[in-house]
């Protein structure tokens, strides 16, 4: 489904070159739930951004469903992100002037769906994360956990091929985090491919495979039962 080969990412800061990814070979299969772990600065977020086409690698290949990302134009990548990917960011990344429903609705409209069909789909997605009663509230009126659930609803409403989650529980209390992981587990059970970055062993246990990254390299792969 998604495969990286010798993925290298280098940043130039004030003439100093910093190699953040040092040749990562990785593959995720359809329906897998993968957790990526590592200490701060290990390169896990950078790896996620390259895989999810939010950034471009310095070297190496990313193949998604057999398509080489290097051959894609910026517009194609945008289209890919819209159709095939879903994102959950650490800080929810909701648009503050849009209600919960509108936040979820927007990418569906961009896909060319009618207003009614998009609204129905968005409302269903929000109901599935337990926010059926909060459709018309603005993000600022919701708790952190609720905002993150809106973000998950937005990420999965269009049934993406892969759900990327960058430390989705980092800003949440224990109870809210547990609820998020419940949702992820449920999505995975339904066949959703999930690639999630986390610091917490407790949440990594929900994944089938846990990948440890250190200094820009995969240093271990652990399979969970």
């Amino acid at each position: 489904m998604i495969k990286t080969k010798n993925l290298i990412k280098t940043f130039q800061t004030g003439g100093i070159e910093t190699k953040v990814l040092r040749g990562i070979d990785f593959e995720a299969k359809s329906g897998e739930f993968i957790a990526i772990m590592g200490r701060s600065g290990a390169g896990k977020s950078t790896f996620l951004y390259q895989m999810s086409l939010l950034d471009e690698p310095t070297e190496g290949d990313i193949m998604i469903d057999g398509k080489d990302s290097a051959a894609m134009t910026a517009e194609e990548k945008t289209g890919f992100r819209l159709e095939k990917f879903g994102y959950v960011f650490q800080d929810y990344a909701l648009l503050p002037e849009l209600t919960a429903l509108e936040n979820v609705l927007l990418p569906l409209l961009m896909q060319g769906r009618s207003r009614q069909s998009a609204s129905e789909l968005a409302a269903t997605a929000l109901a599935s994360v337990g926010l059926g009663d909060h459709l018309h509230q603005l993000p600022g009126e919701l708790s952190g956990g609720e905002q993150q659930r809106v973000a998950i609803a937005r990420a999965v409403a269009h049934s993406p091929r892969i759900l990327f989650a960058d430390e989705p529980t980092a800003n949440l209390d224990r109870q809210a985090s547990a609820r998020i992981m419940e949702i992820f587990t449920d999505l995975h059970r339904k066949g959703q491919t999930i690639i999630m970055i986390t610091h917490e062993d407790e949440y990594a246990k929900f994944a089938e495979r846990v990948i440890q990254i250190d200094e820009g390299r995969i240093v271990s792969v652990q399979l969970n039962q």
Binding site: L54, D55, E75, T78, L82, P96, E97, L106, P107
Partner: protein
């Protein structure tokens, strides 16, 4: 690029951003747009209005719609009675006034003058009028500042333009001749050719038209007797047309009748003094200059507003791009917002101009030396300026949005510069 889908999403985003933006910010932006609109319309409108006021004054107070005057090499309009009869027979003519006009000298204070003193003389033009006809065409009676208007039977009475009197002359220059200690009721000496008469000042005329404020008016029969003209030939005929009639059409009718062989036929526009025509050209250039500067200022204002708005929202723009919203849709959302601000600002500006400022300036014109300045804002031109403003705003709104949108998506999301 500007596909229906991008426009739909851009509109969706724009509506929500405007709806849920801070009321103060929205009000401030709209206020700036209103000021920009007023700058575009009012500044040039007042410049043009100063001239328009002057043109209106010349038109309504002196030349009326069409003026027929003596050829430069003739003493008067030959065949005037026939010409007057012809003009009066035309259906589009509402009223005419025939005028006699001669060079004259006025002298005041001759009774109290000592032998060593210079006589208080002023050279001027005397105009003989039928008071009723003249008033029907130019409303001259309404220009009387002091005293009263002439009547047909008035004998040896005159109206003086105010700038013939020292107390009204705006410059204190001994070379600028004016009558001293003269007001309504004062007796002065009027000399036309070799004929001198003592006349009484019946009224003083106030106007922004030089030909009224620097001339003397008396009843036509009195002037005829002074200049010894009894053949009915006059020096000027002014023609007031019925509402909606075209002065150019009347001029052409008269020219076709051969009137130009014995007289000069001009519409009020033709008869405008050269200095007014020059000022019109200059003010038009200035107005265009000010409007252009206003438009540039408006564009820069919108550019800055949109740039700041887009820059402070670059994280959200990054998120939008991240979740697959196209850059074009985001850019279009800013264009829609700019159009909204320009249209709301222009609408408020239009209401202010047409419901407040134009009536206000009409009721209280600017007191300018050569005109009563009004605000001229022709609807066609104003609408054109609204379109110009919206067009400039679209460009000025699109550019900064494009600059922010083209930034790296991840840098925007993470707030990296």
């Amino acid at each position: 690029m500007f596909s229906g889908l991008n426009i739909r999403i851009g509109f969706f985003l724009a509506v929500r951003q405007i709806k849920r933006a801070s009321l103060w910010t929205t009000s401030l932006i709209i206020f700036v747009m209103v000021l920009t609109f007023l700058n575009l319309v009012v500044v040039s409108g007042i410049l043009v209005g100063l001239i328009e006021g002057s043109i209106n004054a010349w038109h309504t107070q002196y030349t009326s719609d069409v003026i027929i005057s003596t050829l430069p090499d003739k003493k008067y309009i030959e065949g005037s009675p026939n010409l007057i009869a012809l003009i009066k027979s035309l259906p589009e003519v509402e009223q005419i006034s025939a005028r006699y006009s001669e060079g004259a000298t006025l002298e005041a204070n001759y009774k109290t003058k000592k032998a060593t003193e210079k006589p208080n003389l002023v050279g001027t033009q005397i105009v003989g009028i039928n008071p009723e006809d003249e008033n029907a065409v130019t409303f001259l009676a309404s220009r009387i500042k002091e005293g009263s208007y002439l009547k047909s039977g008035d004998y040896d009475e005159v109206l003086l333009g105010k700038y013939l009197l020292a107390q009204y002359v705006p410059v204190d220059d001994p070379n600028f001749a004016a009558l001293q200690k003269t007001t309504v009721g004062t007796k002065i000496r009027l000399t036309v050719g070799k004929v001198t008469r003592e006349v009484t000042v019946k009224g003083i005329i106030d106007s922004k038209v030089d030909s009224l404020t620097r001339n003397v008016f008396m009843v036509d029969s009195q002037l005829r007797s002074m200049i010894g003209r009894s053949d009915g030939n006059v020096d000027q005929i002014i023609v007031k047309l019925t509402p909606g009639a075209d002065p150019i059409a009347l001029k052409e009718t008269l020219l076709r009748s051969g009137v130009d062989r014995g007289a000069r036929v001009q519409t009020y526009a033709d008869a405008q003094p050269q200095f007014l025509k020059d000022i019109i050209n200059t003010f038009n250039m200035l107005g265009t200059g000010f409007s252009s500067i206003g438009l540039i200022v408006a564009s820069i204002t919108i550019f800055i507003v949109v740039f700041i708005n887009a820059y402070t929202r670059r994280k959200f723009i990054g998120i939008l791009k991240g979740i697959g919203i196209t850059g074009k849709a985001i850019e279009i959302s800013y264009v829609f917002q700019s159009i909204f601000y320009a249209l709301v600002g222009s609408t408020i500006g239009l209401l202010l101009v047409y419901l407040l400022l134009v009536p206000l300036f009409l009721a209280h014109p600017i007191d300018f030396p050569f005109s009563d300045g009004i605000l001229v804002a022709p609807v066609g031109q104003t609408i054109f300026r609204v379109f110009l403003l919206v067009f400039a705003t679209v460009i000025a709104g699109y550019l900064p949005a494009w600059m922010i949108v083209r930034r790296n998506t991840l840098d925007s999301i993470l707030g990296r510069n």
